[in-house]
Subunit: 379 residues, 2 copies
């Protein structure tokens, strides 16, 4: 562990007895939310930052678990003592969303409606709005009535935007990185192919594979491989792999690995299929598809953000073709139309969508400066 | 049929008894090549144009089959009497490549090494070079010693380029549309995901599914869905589908169709899985991966084209992100480095890679003018 490390962290859990009504009309009878915190809540309870996760992440945002190697949080490069989101000044909360396979109530948990069985495919469809509602209940439980900021990238950025729209008084800053006001047809198309790969895997068993003692690993592998292609830029793939072969001579095989990019993708797919839940993958990609706050305003994003009142920081990355800078600019325009306080940076980075998770000096410098501004407001 | 139609056309076949040595070191003991011709070969035998097909096409390039609805050739908008490639002036040959599932010897044919069984996964890996060698044998059989032009788009364009490199005296013009000097890491990555979807389908049976009476349709569907996303531009997908829903109200389901883009992709995948052979898909995507004529020149494309002597027309489409204009420009630069006669057009078209198959007036106007120039050379 480095000098600026958080040291060992532990996950916590809160149980909620009251039913949670969902956008779909269904409800969760009761549920658990798993979360982690880093740093100390100040006496005024004004320094809390909520971090929302993206597709395959969790509440384990920073630090390491005791006794476990390689358990570093997924945004550990950003969050810790002296880091851009400085836990010596901020109280940071990482929260796991409903439907996840990492602790909060999800498809792998017991379904109270069918004693002795887990939810599986019967877990209700959850939306970004449902997640934010559950996060708001957690904050109430923790005694936090207003957040200094909500921070998220990609799908996490959509949650941050939803906070600004539906709980406008509960946050002072919304920080949405590499995100979009909704998915494009191409985004939905990639999600749909990944879902079909999972659902048509014979080991999926209509989403009730747990009771068959199998996992639809073939589908999960293909889904993850597709995902990985869209997370990386064409350029960075070319620099990292190009046409590099695994062996010096061509093997002339359709099934064996010839190119290093194939080896990389198969490895990523295999790894993912060992730990990720297939039903969670379906739920989270669907939440992405459904997110579209402008829908009830006839697609008018400017009218959509009329309810927002917090300050905004948006950032996008030049080579991100999944959520391209143009998508962030749509949001910036809508915010400016409402005369809101908005900062926006388009960062020239080669890594595609993945850049939001990486330690790029311009990107981290931007976040460091913005969090210093926020800290200045309560110190 | 329109006035400018070819009317009914018929497929022909030639059998070759001599073994064909392949790049892999394997050989095909004997083989059939299926082809079609349109127009008349002139007395000087100087007006022949060979059309090479791309991933999922065949020798059926133009015209219709008698008694069959919807049997129009895949490039019928381009080829026929009075069309840009005018069959009143040119003798056009459409050829089906080895390894295909549309007639020429392929995985669905009897394997002479294993009597009573089809090749299946034992069909040897074929390359663009092997296809061109077989095409050259067909032309010799037809008594054509020099082609007016070789024409192809995408993978067909790679074959046209290979003709110019290895049979430089056998063609006067190489017309390569929406192609590339080799696949990028991202291109290979998409092919690899599609192949994994097919190979890991339990109905694939290691490529010997025929004898099990099944077809790996799940894998083929996913492969085709991935392909379709990469054929279309982000823009045209947005215009055509955007976020249009199938029903007025959200259904909140991870498995049912919500968005029209999902419906479109599933339909394309289903249709494809009904007629396309899984082993052919693996072979053709691998031929794409392997094509890299500059490999033996240490990646130096200018040195690669030192062997070429014909004239060239290249065209690319602004929104093609599969084989982007920059890839065509690499070829153009290499041709100019060799002081070859090259025309190049970058066509502003919204349809992505698919544009090479569509009837865009600027694109077809370009081809019409170029073929008029070629016709002027022999008339």
């Amino acid at each position: 562990m480095s000098a600026s490390s958080l040291g060992f962290v532990t996950a916590q859990s809160q149980h909620f007895d009251a039913a949670l009504p969902l956008r779909s009309g269904a409800r969760l009878r009761d549920f658990d939310i798993v979360y982690e915190t880093y740093g100390e809540l100040n006496a005024e309870r004004s320094n809390a930052v909520l971090v929302c996760h993206a597709l395959n992440a969790s509440h384990h945002v920073a630090g390491c678990y005791e006794g476990q190697d390689k358990s570093e949080g997924w945004w550990d490069n950003l969050i810790g003592p002296g880091k851009p989101l400085d836990t010596d000044r901020f109280f940071v909360i990482g929260v796991n969303n409903l439907g996840s396979c990492f602790g909060s109530t999800g498809p792998m948990h017991a379904n109270p409606e069918t004693p002795g069985r887990v939810y599986g495919a019967d877990f209700p469809v959850v939306t970004v709005e449902d997640w934010v509602d559950a996060q708001a209940l957690l904050l109430a439980r923790l005694g936090i009535s207003q957040l200094a900021a909500v921070l998220g990238g990609s799908l996490g950025g959509m949650q941050a935007l939803d906070w600004s729209l539906r709980y406008p008084k509960m946050l002072r800053h919304c920080i949405a990185i590499a995100t979009a006001p909704n998915l494009s047809a191409q985004n939905i198309a990639f999600n749909e192919v990944a879902r079909r790969a999972i659902i048509t895997d014979p080991d999926f068993h209509g989403g009730h594979f747990y009771e068959h003692g199998v996992v639809p690993k073939r589908g999960l592998r293909v889904a993850r491989m597709i995902g990985h292609i869209t997370y990386l830029s064409d350029d960075v793939m070319e620099q990292k792999f190009g046409r590099k072969m695994r062996e010096a001579e061509l093997g002339y095989s359709t099934q064996d690995i010839e190119f290093q990019i194939e080896s990389y993708l198969r490895y990523q797919g295999d790894k993912f299929s060992e730990y990720f839940d297939a039903n969670t993958y379906l739920l989270i990609t669907r939440a992405l598809d459904y997110f579209d706050p402008a829908r009830v305003f006839g697609g008018d994003l400017s009218r959509t953000f009329a309810s927002a009142s917090c300050k905004f920081l948006l950032a996008s990355f030049s080579t991100d073709w999944r959520f391209a800078p143009a998508r962030s600019r749509e949001i910036v325009k809508a915010l400016l139309d409402n005369r809101l306080d908005v900062s926006y940076a388009e960062i020239d980075a080669p890594h595609g969508h993945d850049a939001f998770l990486l330690d790029d000096p311009r990107y981290h410098g931007l976040l460091r400066a913005y969090f210093q501004r926020i800290a200045g407001e309560f110190q």
